[in-house]
């Protein structure tokens, strides 16, 4: 008997005019490991909600056709019964922690099942040990690292012994290194438990670092492909629907290798490198040399900066950095070295213990310490990682125009600048929508639009592409690149080495001792001492 069956399923959210899913037919067998991939808005998360019973039980809408888990129709079974069959690890573990400590969070399901306390303690201990978070049991889940948070969330559903495990965008909140560890852990558990694993994700490359049995491709609410990873990578279907291919596949394609002739294309470690080497070498020889560096004038000097959240552990102990006019600077480094902290000091959100920030306003030198957060914002735009913390209006147009209205511009100018910015950011079709109808990635673009409209000289972006699929990511970065060419200086914090390599013209690596390396992106990537811990 199949583990999951979709039979001619259509679904339309109550709040939307158009159906989100069209005629879904899908069978997933017990013990399979399946990746459901698709760009944002393709309906892949909706599919997940149909599997775990959130639709129709807690999210309202119109369903036709049948969804079965084992032999149970999800319409008839209760959400509680379904949750014992399908364990769901939601996106962004931060927002779903319930317990005050990791232990309570893991035990939450058991508490609701009225499991006696001694048994509960024993099972929590067992799963925490298995997932390597036993030492963290008495800490608050909020204090854990990104990877540990996800393990906490996983332990909380694994403890139910469900047959099906569903991961909704497990990589969204993780840096690449922890993301790959998570994927490895999911794979290990799959091999030990032989359960059915479904991963919903658009970052194909990272998921495919471990084998999956099948990839279900989705676009525009339909299943458009059901293939093995090798078939998928040999075809160009990922590009067609706007998802990123693994970098090595892209390289092979550019170098002119016939992908149909490449064995084990789904596993980079098993590629026959000797056979491929001549073609790749030939391609590399023909590639353009790196452009010469241009002399730049300084825009912002950070001098001898000292800062710490508490006295004993300083984040910056005499940091020096100069951002030059025209830079497209990628700020990289491990979690916790102070990348976001530095941005927040520059914008005035945090005050340094000592040190100077000097802004070159034309020929004048301005000490930023004399300016308020608002005054700094006229020169330096800062886009936070979480768009919800920036949005204050109900409608998109009002949100984007807010900064201009507060600066007292006339209506015609505001309308024109808002429209231009919306078009550039690809939000023009939604201009009269309420913001809460938008996805996370779209909200992020609204916040970028709302800062861009103020025409700052320096733009600081905290993880500009987090949570966005490749098409939106490319659109966004191409757009930022254009702005940079028009003269806006840009600094972005990122974990994404592709992003750094493709779009930055300078990379600053932050480490525990301040700036570890300040060089061209390719130089940084070629320095294994610096780049390996980041990847």
């Amino acid at each position: 008997m199949p583990a999951i069956t979709f039979d001619h399923v259509n679904f339309q959210y109550e709040s939307q005019a158009e159906p989100t899913l069209h005629d879904i037919n899908l069978t997933i067998h017990a013990g399979e490991k399946v990746l459901i991939a698709g760009p944002s808005g393709s309906g892949k998360s909706t599919l997940g909600n149909l599997i775990n019973g959130s639709i129709p039980h807690s999210i309202k809408g119109h369903v036709t056709g049948t969804v079965r888990i084992g032999d149970q129709d999800t319409q008839d079974a209760s959400l509680f019964d379904l949750s014992l069959l399908v364990g769901t690890v939601l996106q962004d573990p931060d927002s779903q922690f319930i317990g005050l400590t990791t232990a309570e969070d893991i035990a939450f399901g058991l508490e609701n099942d009225r499991v006696a306390r001694p048994e509960m303690h024993q099972r929590v201990e067992e799963w925490a040990t298995r997932l390597g978070i036993a030492a963290q049991l008495h800490q608050s889940p909020q204090e854990l690292s990104g990877g540990q948070k996800q393990r906490d969330a996983m332990a909380g559903v694994l403890i139910d012994d469900g047959d099906i495990l569903l991961f909704d965008e497990p990589l969204a909140a993780l840096d690449p290194a922890s993301g790959r560890k998570s994927i490895a852990l999911i794979d290990k558990l799959h091999q030990q438990l032989h359960n059915t694993v479904i991963i919903i994700e658009h970052q194909i490359e990272d998921v495919l670092t471990r084998p999956v049995d099948r990839v279900i491709l989705m676009a525009d609410g339909r299943i458009i492909g059901d293939l093995t990873p090798a078939e998928l990578l040999r075809s160009n279907r990922l590009q067609q629907i706007g998802l990123r291919e693994p970098l090595y596949v892209e390289a092979l394609r550019y170098a002119g290798c016939d992908l149909n002739q490449v064995d084990h294309i789904e596993d980079i470690t098993a590629l026959d490198t000797q056979a491929l080497a001549p073609t790749l070498q030939h391609w590399q020889d023909g590639a353009a040399a790196t452009p010469p560096t241009v002399a730049r004038t300084p825009l912002l000097d950070v001098t001898d900066l000292h800062f710490g959240y508490n006295r004993h552990t300083p984040i910056f102990d005499g940091l020096n950095l100069t951002i030059n006019r025209g830079d497209m600077l990628a700020l990289v480094g491990r979690n916790g070295v102070g990348k976001s902290t530095l941005s927040q000091i520059i914008t005035g959100f945090l005050n340094p213990a000592a040190g100077h920030l000097t802004y070159h306003d034309g020929d004048q030198k301005v000490d930023l310490a004399t300016l308020s957060v608002k005054e700094r914002a006229d020169k330096i735009g800062y886009i936070m990682q979480d768009p919800n913390q920036m949005i204050s209006q109900v409608m998109i147009r009002d949100e984007v125009g807010l900064g201009l209205r507060l600066r007292g511009l006339d209506d015609d100018t505001i309308t024109k600048r808002v429209d231009d910015t919306l078009k550039i950011c690809g939000l023009y079709p939604f201009r009269n929508w309420p913001i809460n109808a938008l996805s996370f990635g779209q909200r992020k673009r609204v916040t970028i639009a709302s800062i861009l409209v103020l025409q700052p000289e320096l733009l600081i972006l905290d993880e500009p592409t987090a949570g966005q699929d490749w098409r939106h990511y490319t659109d966004m970065m191409t757009f930022l690149e254009q702005l940079n060419q028009q003269g806006i200086t840009m600094m972005f914090i990122t974990h994404d080495m592709h992003l750094m390599l493709e779009y930055a013209n300078r990379t600053v690596v932050l480490g525990d001792q301040g700036v570890m390396l300040d060089a061209r992106p390719s130089t940084v990537l070629a320095n294994p001492e610096v780049s390996v811990p980041l990847l």
């Binding site: 959130s54 039980h57 807690s58 959400l79 509680f80 949750s83 014992l84 769901t88 939601l90 962004d92 927002s95 779903q96 319930i98 317990g99 005050l100 400590t101 232990a103 309570e104 035990a107 939450f108 399901g109 058991l110 508490e111 609701n112 099942d113 009225r114 499991v115 006696a116 306390r117 509960m120 303690h121 929590v124 909020q142 909380g156 559903v157 139910d160 927040q344 914008t347 005035g348 959100f349 308020s372 957060v373 608002k374 005054e375 700094r376 914002a377 735009g381 800062y382 936070m384 919800n388 913390q389 920036m390 949005i391 204050s392 209006q393 807010l402 900064g403 507060l406 809460n436 709302s450």
Partner: protein, 276 residues
């Protein structure tokens, strides 16, 4: 954030080891009897006891400074108001009149009034340390389980615990949003006037509400997906069984309450009258 709200502080004292239900019952029982009784001897005895307990709970002044000042301010305000509205209430209660100051006017000062207000003061001093002990030595999850144990529905108890837990989160979120809004152009620094600052602060509430609604939505989905509300009862990971110390504490509480009630008989009413 520098501003830390007082709350559970995990330590290793016998008070921390008591079950939350015991502490809740003892707190309620002692507070009620202290509210009813006007026997100064009795009140003084339990005041001393509650101060000793307070000392044993290892609570530092820094943790409770803010809330103590707050309570002190309102208690003094209350005592003054009682005097202003009815300076002769003590005389009316105790039936005698020992003048200290004034004679015929509205504002007289009598021993009876002072004694009455002393009783009120003792009542405050009894309950405040007890409440603080309860809040600061009880783990919020265990608090939820004790509310459930004393008969409150677990859905309500859990909401209370969750709300307590989210206070620090909401505070730091407010701070971030406020800064983001300033960067957009709301001048909230000292360079703006008060009206502008108030208006700007108001605007922060909208994203805060949206962010909180989002959070509630996600958490309630996560809770549902893990079967919260499936049965009429649930168990508690942090729940504590009653130990001998719990029974002893409850027994002591009951004895104190019985003593308080017995004093009603002795005093022939709720008031102990030293003037007669």
């Amino acid at each position: 954030m520098s501003f830390q709200l007082f709350g559970f502080d995990d330590q290793d004292t016998w008070l921390h080891h008591l079950s939350g239900a015991t502490k809740l019952l003892a707190f309620l029982g002692l507070s009620i009897i202290a509210m009813i009784s006007y026997d100064a001897r009795f009140l003084a005895a339990i005041t001393i006891m509650s101060l000793i307990l307070f000392k044993q709970a290892h609570i530092t002044w820094r943790q409770i400074r803010l809330v103590t000042k707050f309570i002190l301010f309102f208690s003094i305000l209350n005592l003054l108001a009682v005097y202003v509205f009815s300076p002769e209430y003590g005389v009316h209660l105790y039936g005698t009149r020992h003048l200290i100051l004034g004679s015929t006017g509205y504002f007289t000062l009598t021993q009876e009034q002072l004694f009455y207000e002393l009783n009120l003061t003792l009542k405050y001093i009894v309950t405040v340390p007890l409440a603080l002990i309860f809040l600061m030595t009880t783990n919020p999850s265990e608090f939820a389980s004790s509310l459930n144990k004393v008969g409150l529905s677990y859905k309500v108890s859990y909401s209370v615990a969750l709300a307590l837990r989210y206070i620090p989160d909401v505070q730091s979120e407010y701070h971030q949003i406020s800064l983001a809004q300033q960067a957009r152009g709301y001048e909230l620094s000292r360079k703006a006037n008060l009206w502008q600052r108030l208006q700007g602060a108001g605007k922060i509430l909208i994203p805060l509400v949206f962010a909180s609604l989002d959070r509630i939505d996600t958490v309630s989905r996560a809770m549902e997906l893990r079967r919260f509300g499936r049965y009429r009862k649930r168990t508690w990971y942090m729940g504590r069984d009653f130990h001998a110390s719990d029974w002893l504490t409850l027994l002591a509480t009951v004895l104190i309450i019985i003593l308080g009630i017995a004093l009603f008989k002795v005093n022939d009413g709720r008031f102990w009258n030293p003037f007669r």
